[in-house]
């Protein structure tokens, strides 16, 4: 058989870090969403937190619609932060190992108190500028990667499928242009 090694080579090119860490991580993201939906009926998206939290400090009328949900959105977001922290203390630190997890080579690792923490090498101007556009776009566009991407697509919502197709296509084009301009990382 000649085709099989070729197929394997293509897979190795497209997925140099395998797929298991991505698939397992995605299943957990979905599971977290389902746990909340199961108990509360809420399709929790991550970006509404930005506006709902602003309602604590701003009287702008736009933010007032989120006053009723702002407390639990803070709790949800703190849970996400803690979840990332628990991942760092266990798997990222190597204290829990799994054949399904492949450590990456991106960014920088820092040892602190026997644990391994990670920081990005992506330049601050990219994070600030990109983050600002993410803050504007997700709120105008009615959702982000979790609201549209996970809950909306999971609901087979046409609005969300169009939303995801839009931001994914534009993000691919943008990232390719930025990379072609020689910006790295």
């Amino acid at each position: 058989m000649v085709t099989e090694p070729v197929a394997l080579q293509v897979a190795a090119d497209l997925f140099p870090n395998g797929i298991s860490r991505y698939a397992v991580g995605g299943l957990l993201v979905g599971l977290g969403t389902v746990v909340i939906y199961l108990g509360t009926g809420i399709s929790a998206g991550a970006s509404t937190f930005l506006e709902s939290t602003l309602s604590y400090v701003s009287g702008q009328s736009r933010f007032q619609r989120y006053v009723g949900s702002r407390d639990w959105r803070v709790v949800f977001t703190l849970g996400i932060v803690l979840g990332g922290f628990l991942f760092a203390l266990t798997v990222q630190s190597g204290l829990v190992s799994s054949s399904l997890y492949q450590a990456g080579t991106t960014g920088q690792l820092h040892q602190l108190g026997g644990f391994t923490f990670w920081t990005t090498n992506v330049q601050p101007w990219r994070l600030v500028l990109g983050g600002t556009l993410v803050g504007i776009g997700t709120r105008i566009g009615k959702g982000c990667t979790s609201g549209h991407g996970v809950c909306g697509v999971g609901s087979a919502s046409k609005t969300s499928i169009v939303g995801v197709a839009t931001f994914l296509a534009v993000a691919i084009g943008t990232a390719q242009i930025v990379a072609a301009l020689g910006v790295t990382p």
């Binding site: 993201v29 509360t40 930005l50 500028l129 556009l133």
Partner: protein
């Protein structure tokens, strides 16, 4: 939107958030470099994060409404996440896409990124709050103007 009706309401959101954030850490989606490598086709694995999560939630969104009427902690009906379509979905999605392509980070992944130790991501979080404020300020002004009809979500 639901109010707190049950003592387990917030604990459950907290636990759900922890699982969600752990998954974002495990998948490396909390790392902007990995997202940028995906967007430039150097590593397509990230497809499995969003697709995997959407499949899992899709099963729950499809099955739960058929077997139960109401969620135990809120009494709310199980509904799908359906939002109305208008040009804001395209405009906002386009702006979000430019931002995601520049930075490699989206809101949920940014929260989880802070958890894995990435204090540098505070730059992105500051930007996200600034952006959310700017659009909120602008839309508040428009909605408060007497002649412009509001109702956009």
């Amino acid at each position: 939107m639901s109010q707190d009706r049950h003592p387990l309401f917030k604990p459950l959101l907290f636990v759900g958030g922890i699982i969600f954030g752990f998954g974002l850490g495990f998948s490396h989606m909390a790392r902007p470099e990995v997202v940028l490598n995906f967007l430039t086709f150097e590593d397509l694995g990230l497809v499995f994060v969003m697709f995997g999560a959407a499949v899992v939630s899709g099963i729950a969104f499809a099955v739960l409404p058929r077997i139960r009427d109401r969620a135990p902690l809120t009494g709310d009906a199980y509904e799908r996440r359906l939002k109305s379509f208008d040009r804001n979905v395209l405009i906002g999605g386009g702006i979000f896409g430019v931002g995601w392509g520049i930075s490699g980070i989206c809101p949920g992944a940014a929260y989880a990124s802070l958890g894995v130790g990435n204090i540098t991501i505070l730059w992105a979080l500051a930007g996200m709050f600034l952006g959310a404020y700017l659009q909120g300020y602008w839309r508040s002004k428009r909605a408060d103007a007497p002649t412009v009809a509001s109702g956009a979500d």
